[in-house]
Symmetry: C2
Subunit: 356 residues, 2 copies
């Protein structure tokens, strides 16, 4: 197969972890006989520095031409605590999501047995937790207009908007995932207070009968925030709107204790994008200490979701698990034993794939 | 002192736990020589059943005449999963908050040593956790207009609005709390995406210099959702807007493992209101098994915040702690030993106050 991949390393540790994902992707393509081309482009703070735009038109073009996008991380401390800065890296991220139509953000929440003790939760609550959070990514308050200030600057307003089309699209995606898993979908909203949530729930109740083999249940977002901690194993697939998803997926990401291991996928209209859930980790930049696993597992999701190449994805997963078992891991998860560098972990995983 | 208290038992277990809080309040007033009058009124599902209105004008009048309101819980399963029902108990709650000007919801998050093992978190992370969540309660998306549907019903919209006045008021309240505690305030927003949050952050940055002895820091809401679990002890006072507060305060309430023990206060313009953070717990209704501690500790907050009677509040706290130590507790927290009924726990605590 011919695979055209856009490569957006971004800021901070982005380039370092991306190098490892590319090594691994190359190893997989060699082994399974795929022809791969990588086209690199800039995004985030480094793009602001280079051309004054966090998501330049050239980068967008590269993504539009690609079958899949590998994305590192963006953000730089110099933009922190200045929410009024004229140009910010996040604006690039949001424009990218909108322009590529990346409507469905998928975050598998899984535990790695050897890392359970890192969880802030009691081991008995997280052992075996395995669910997927699906966040609508191009609607809601992130993009609703009007947004702004009154003339005198003393009143601010945001608008949350959802259309039937947007809600149906993400719910069908969520049902598709639930159908391939334990067949349980939890729709999270705040239908007891807001109108957009009432539309979500109405449409979910309309669609549910189309999936008779899937159990649908409904949770208010505040209850969901509790349940994720109290009983993570009660979830299979959770679906929610953009801002609730921002909060709940981050909450869910810390319960398994393996933040540096968790990948994500954003399913889109024009292409799909794959990125680790962690940030650009500026303090670690250039030190060869960042954990490349989440980025490498994002490449696994790319093989599975963008190219429907399940075996290739499985090969990456096996290699990452083997690296954990062999203790070839970075300092964030090394326990007692020796910590390896970012590129050593990448080399080891790529080698494992080639030689197995 | 003369204390005029409005009593709104509400639905489900509300009346049962309220009885215990009234016993305890009477005991305190007897001991400290206060003259107390209770005026009862209906609210919630029972008010819908009785008069078709979850917050009838008569109830509002009773609250307006009172120095403080004791509130049980509202909600009934028959209103669940029908977000489009014409009249809902929650509407009463929201109207009550707005009409009484209850702008600041205060939730102390504290651990009880004997209950730490009930926490879903590792004991080392929660032991000694002690912070206060302050949620703005009368602004934001809960009350912003326009809210509704397009003509064809296929688009829904909500509006989030905040004014300088609303933000300044809640921030000053939060600084007041921080000043009386460990002098650290965390302002939680989503200033990297939404306009109302940018106004929050701007105003917080303007106000912070007025409180030079208090350390102010800022967290995005998604980061806060992570940090609450990863490192609860890093918080002293957390302040945020209405909807973020709904989610984060519920998240925070489960980390200590003592949901049935946590009280809350809502500071208002016309009066203040005190209620447990748990709900109406329909399954337990009438069984004399509900834990009255959160309601009783809400009465303690009433003495402290509404009447500035610190010793009276402290007497209630001591009595509740003594009941824990003596094992006079309801089944939700009874461990191995005997479980007591709701009213037995209330009697014991009231007696302890009178006789100590
Ligand atoms: C950086 C920010 C705009 C972004 C979001 O809120 O979507 C981030 O938190 C995320 O979840 O990808
Ligand atoms: C019942 C609901 C309207 C309410 C809210 O969202 O404020 C509740 O969740 C709360 O936190 O008191």
């Amino acid at each position: 197969m011919k695979l055209k991949i856009a490569v957006l390393p971004g800021d901070g540790i982005g380039p370092e972890i991306m190098d490892q994902a590319l090594k691994v992707t190359r190893a997989v393509c060699e082994k399974f006989n795929h022809e791969v081309t990588f086209t690199e482009a800039i995004v985030g703070a480094c793009a602001i520095d280079a051309v004054g735009d966090p998501y330049p038109p050239e980068t967008h073009e590269v993504c539009m031409q690609a079958d899949a996008v590998l994305f590192g991380a963006i953000g730089h401390p110099k933009f922190d605590n200045d929410p009024n800065a004229r140009v910010r890296p996040e604006q690039g991220l949001l424009r990218m999501r909108k322009q590529l139509g990346l409507y469905g953000n998928i975050r598998p929440v899984m535990t790695f047995p050897s890392l359970i003790h890192k969880s802030p939760l009691r081991a008995d609550l997280v052992e075996g937790a395995d669910f997927v959070c699906i966040r609508e990514l191009t609607g809601g308050m992130y993009f609703g207009r009007p947004q702004g200030r009154s003339e005198d600057g003393d009143t601010a307003y945001d608008t949350c908007v959802y259309t039937r089309e947007e809600i149906e699209r993400i719910l069908h995606l969520a049902y598709k995932f639930a159908g391939q898993r334990r067949k349980k979908l939890t729709v999270v909203d705040k239908a007891n207070v807001i109108a957009t949530s009432r539309l979500w729930r109405q449409i979910a109740q309309e669609i549910a009968p189309q999936y008779p083999d899937i159990e649908t249940d409904y949770l208010f977002v505040d209850n969901a925030a509790m349940r994720i901690i109290q009983w993570p194993k009660s979830f299979d697939v959770l679906v929610t709107e953009n801002l609730f998803g921002d909060i709940l997926t981050d909450e869910a990401s810390v319960i398994t204790g393996s933040l540096g291991m968790l990948p994500s996928a954003s399913i889109g209209i024009h292409t799909s994008l794959f990125e680790p859930i962690h940030g650009s980790y500026p303090q670690a930049t250039g030190k060869n200490i960042a954990n490349p696993a989440a980025m490498i597992l994002s490449a696994a999701l790319m093989f599975e979701y963008a190219f429907n190449l399940q075996e290739e994805g499985a090969a990456i997963r096996r290699a990452v698990n083997a690296s954990l078992e062999a203790g070839v891991v970075t300092e964030d998860i090394a326990e007692g034993g020796k910590a390896y560098g970012t590129s050593e972990v990448g080399d080891w995983i790529a080698e494992y794939i080639k030689s197995s």
